[in-house]
Amino acid sequence: MISTNIEINELRFHDAWQECCTHLIHARHALKSLTVHLPLDGQKLALLDLESIQDVDQLVLRYSKLQDSMGSKLFPALLKVLMEPLEDSPMLDKLNRLEKMGILPSVQRWQELREIRNKFAHDYPEGDDMKAMVLNAACSGIEELAEVLDSVGKAGGV
C-alpha cells in the first residue's frame, strides 16, 4: 500500500513535469518568433502583423499555463515525492519550503512572476505602452520559470 502511494506520487509528479515542459516548449517557440520585435513598445505592438499577434497570444497563453501549472500541480507533487508533509498547508508555506530547500530562488520573485501572469487576466485598460511592458516582462520571465523548472526536475529526479 505504501509503495503504491509512492508510485502514484511519482506518476503525478511526472505528469505535471511533462505538462510544464510542453508549455515551456511552446512559450519558447513563440518567444523566438517575436525576438525581432523585442523589446516591444506601444507603437510596435499596435503595428504587429496577424502572424505576430498569434505569437503574442501563444506567449501569453503558455506563460500563464506554465506559471499556473508549476504552482498548482508541480510544486505540490514535488513536495509529496520528497515526503514533505505540507499537503494541507497554504501555498505560502509550500513556497517558503521550496525556497529553503534551494529549489525556488525567491518566494517574492515567484509571486512577481505570478503577478505578471495576473496582469494578462485582469486589469484596467492602461494603453498599448503598458501592455507592451507586461509582454516584455513575460518574455524575460520565461527563462526564470525555465530555471525553476530545471531545479524542480533535478530535485524530483527527472
Binding site: Q108, I116, H122, Y124, P125
Partner: protein, 101 residues
Amino acid sequence: MRITETERRVLCDAAREAFGADSTVFLFGSRIDDSRRGGDIDLLVKTDKTGQAVIFEAQIRFLAKVKLALGEQKIDVLVDYPDRKSRPEILRIAKASGVQL
C-alpha cells in the same frame, strides 16, 4: 470602508516599500460602500516616482508583497505619477471618490 486594519497596514507598508516613502494609497470602488459585500479591492496609489518602466516594476513588486501577506485575492491598482500619459476616466473617478488608507 470595508477593509480590515491588517489589510490597511499591509497595503500601506507594501506601497511605501515599492513606490517610495512618500507614496499614498486610496481605496475606491465597491469596498468604500458599507452596504455591499465582498468585491475586488480597487486601489489608487499616488507616487513621486516617474517613468512607465519604473512604475510597472513597482506595481508588480507591490502586488506580490500584498498577495504574499494577505493571500490570493483580486486587487487592481491604478498608479498616478507625475509623467503619466494616459488619463482614463477610471483615474478621474478614483481620484474623486478615493478614501486615503
